[in-house]
C-alpha cells in the first residue's frame, strides 16, 4: 500500500508541475506531429500514401517523442538535484521508478491521442477498425519502451552526454518492442485484418513488458546508489 502511495505522490507531483509549465507535453506533441508531417511529405504522393508505411511512421513518432519526454522529465529532477531528495526518502526506491514511469506514460498517452488520428488521416490508415486491439498494442508497446527509457534516463541524469547517450542505449534494447508494435499494428491494417497475428504480437509485447519492468524494478536501486 505504501508502495502505491509513494508512486502516486510522484505521479501527482509530476502532473502538477507539468500542468503549470506544459513544457514536456507541448514540446513532445510538437515534435511528434512534426515527425508525422515530415513523413507525410515524403511518403504521400498526390494524396496516395506508400503502402504499409503508416505503422512504422506511427511507432517511430512514438519512440522519438518518447525519448524527448524521457529526457525532459529527468532534466527536471536534475536541475535542483531533486532526484537525490527522492532517493533520500524512506520509501521503497522502486516505487519512485514506478511513479516516474507512470507520469511519462500519461504524457505519452496524450501525445498518442493526437498522433494516432493524425497518422490515420494522412496515411488513410484504418487504425480505428479494431480500436481495443490498437489501444492494447499502443499501451503495451509504450509501456515496454518507457519502462526501459525511464531506467536509462534516471541512470544518465548526471551524465554529461545524457542527451546523446539516452537514444544510443535505448533504441537497441527496445528494438523488439518497436518491431512488435509495428508488426501488430500492420496486422490490423491489412485488407483482411489479421486479428490472430495482432494478438500474437500483443502477447509478445506483454512478455517484453513483464521482463523489462521486472528487470527495471530489480536494478533501479543498485544502479541509482552506485
Amino acid at each position: 500500500m505504501r508502495f502505491v502511495r509513494t508512486a502516486w505522490l510522484v505521479v501527482r507531483k509530476d502532473l502538477v508541475i507539468e500542468a503549470r509549465s506544459r513544457e514536456i507535453v507541448y514540446t513532445t506533441l510538437f515534435f511528434a506531429v512534426a515527425c508525422v508531417l515530415v513523413f507525410a511529405f515524403g511518403f504521400v504522393n498526390e494524396g496516395r500514401p506508400v503502402t504499409d508505411a503508416a505503422p512504422g511512421i506511427l511507432w517511430i513518432a512514438i519512440a522519438f517523442s518518447g525519448t524527448l519526454a524521457l529526457g525532459r522529465a529527468f532534466e527536471r529532477e536534475r536541475q535542483s538535484e531533486t532526484l537525490r531528495a527522492l532517493m533520500m526518502a524512506p520509501v521503497d526506491r522502486p516505487a519512485l521508478y514506478v511513479g516516474k514511469l507512470a507520469g511519462i506514460l500519461l504524457l505519452l498517452a496524450v501525445v498518442e491521442a493526437i498522433v494516432v488520428p493524425l497518422v490515420a488521416l494522412l496515411f488513410h490508415a484504418a487504425l480505428f477498425d479494431r480500436p481495443w486491439l490498437l489501444l492494447a498494442l499502443l499501451a503495451a508497446g509504450t509501456t515496454g519502451f518507457a519502462a526501459v527509457g525511464t531506467l536509462f534516463a534516471a541512470m544518465l541524469v548526471r551524465a554529461r552526454s545524457r542527451d546523446v547517450l539516452l537514444p544510443v542505449l535505448l533504441y537497441p534494447i527496445t528494438i523488439p518492442v518497436i518491431i512488435a508494435g509495428v508488426r501488430g499494428t500492420a496486422a490490423l491494417l491489412q485488407a483482411d485484418v489479421d486479428v490472430p497475428m495482432a494478438r500474437a504480437w500483443l502477447s509478445m509485447l506483454v512478455l517484453f513488458d513483464v521482463v523489462f519492468v521486472t528487470l527495471a524494478l530489480w536494478t533501479f536501486e543498485p544502479l541509482m546508489t552506485e
Binding site: 505522490l9 507531483k13 537525490r84 531528495a85 527522492l86 533520500m88 526518502a89 524512506p90
Partner: protein, 242 residues
C-alpha cells in the same frame, strides 16, 4: 519513525570514480550531540563524503556504520533519520514552498503534515509567500526553505553542504542558533562549509579534507581560519618536511 542511532562511524572509507580517487581511507566518528565541521579546498572530496554518509553513494571500500547498522541492511528506516541539505537545494521551482514541503512530508510518511508545513514556513520566514512559486525566490529564501525541507522529519543525523550560502546576516545568525539547538537536542550534525568565520566557535570539532584525506584541525586560541591555513600548509608539504 525510523531506527535510531547515536554514533556515525566511517572506517577506512575510500571512493574512486574511474581512476580518480575522491576519498582515501577516511575514518571518522561523530557522536550524538556533536557538531562537526568539514572544510577543505574545492575538489577535496567533501561532497562525496556527504553523499556516502547520506547513503546516496556506496564507498569503493571501507565501512560506514550508524551504531551497528549499515545503510545496505537498514535501508529506508535509516534514511528516515537522515536530513540532507545539498549544495543544490532539492526543491521544485514550479511548486510553492507549501507544496514542496507537503510533498516531502508525504513522501516521508509524516503525521500532522499541515502543522509541520506551517511551522517550517514560519521558521523560514516564508509564511506570507507560502503559495508563490519557488522559482521567483532569491537564493537566500530558497536556502532557508531547503533547510526546513531537510529538517522537516526531525532527523537524527543532519548533513548540511554549504548551509550559509546566500543567507543575510540575520538568517545566518538564526541558522547558527538552529544548529546549536539541533546539537543540544542530541542530533549528529555534520556541516561542510567554506564559511569559516561563521562556524568559528560553533563547531565542536573541525576537520579538513585535502586530496581525499581527512585531517583533524587542532584546537587552539587562533581563529579557525588561521588554524585551517596552518593545517593546509602542513598537508601541502612534501612527506618528510612536515
Amino acid at each position: 519513525m525510523g531506527l535510531d542511532f547515536r554514533t556515525l562511524s566511517l572506517t577506512d572509507v575510500t571512493r574512486t570514480f574511474g581512476r580518480r580517487r575522491a576519498l582515501y581511507k577516511v575514518s571518522l566518528q561523530v557522536n550524538a550531540g556533536e557538531l562537526v565541521v568539514v572544510i577543505g579546498p574545492n575538489g577535496a572530496g567533501k561532497s562525496t563524503l556527504l553523499a556516502i554518509v547520506a547513503t546516496l553513494l556506496a564507498p569503493t571500500s571501507g565501512t560506514v556504520r550508524y551504531d551497528d547498522h549499515t545503510s545496505a541492511a537498514a535501508g529506508a528506516a535509516l534514511r528516515a533519520r537522515i536530513g540532507l541539505l545539498g549544495h543544490d537545494l532539492y526543491l521544485y521551482p514550479e511548486l510553492s514552498p507549501a507544496e514542496n514541503l507537503r510533498f516531502f512530508a508525504d513522501l516521508h510518511g509524516l503525521d500532522r503534515v499541515e502543522d509541520r508545513v506551517a511551522g517550517a514556513l514560519e521558521r523560514a520566514g516564508l509564511s506570507d509567500r507560502r503559495n508563490d512559486p519557488v522559482a521567483g525566490f532569491s537564493r537566500g529564501m530558497r536556502q532557508r526553505l531547503a533547510l526546513e525541507r531537510a529538517l522537516l522529519h526531525d532527523p537524527r543525523l543532519v548533513l548540511l553542504d554549504e548551509p550559509f550560502t546566500g543567507l543575510d546576516d540575520a538568517a545566518s545568525h538564526a541558522l547558527r542558533h538552529r544548529l546549536s539547538t539541533l546539537r543540544d537536542a542530541g542530533c549528529l550534525v555534520l556541516v561542510i562549509t567554506h564559511d569559516l568565520d561563521t562556524v568559528d566557535g560553533l563547531a565542536d570539532r573541525a576537520l579538513m579534507l585535502h586530496k581525499g584525506r581527512l585531517l583533524e584541525i587542532q584546537g587552539g586560541a587562533a581563529s579557525l581560519r588561521e588554524r585551517y591555513r596552518d593545517a593546509l600548509g602542513r598537508a601541502a608539504q612534501p612527506a618528510g618536511q612536515a
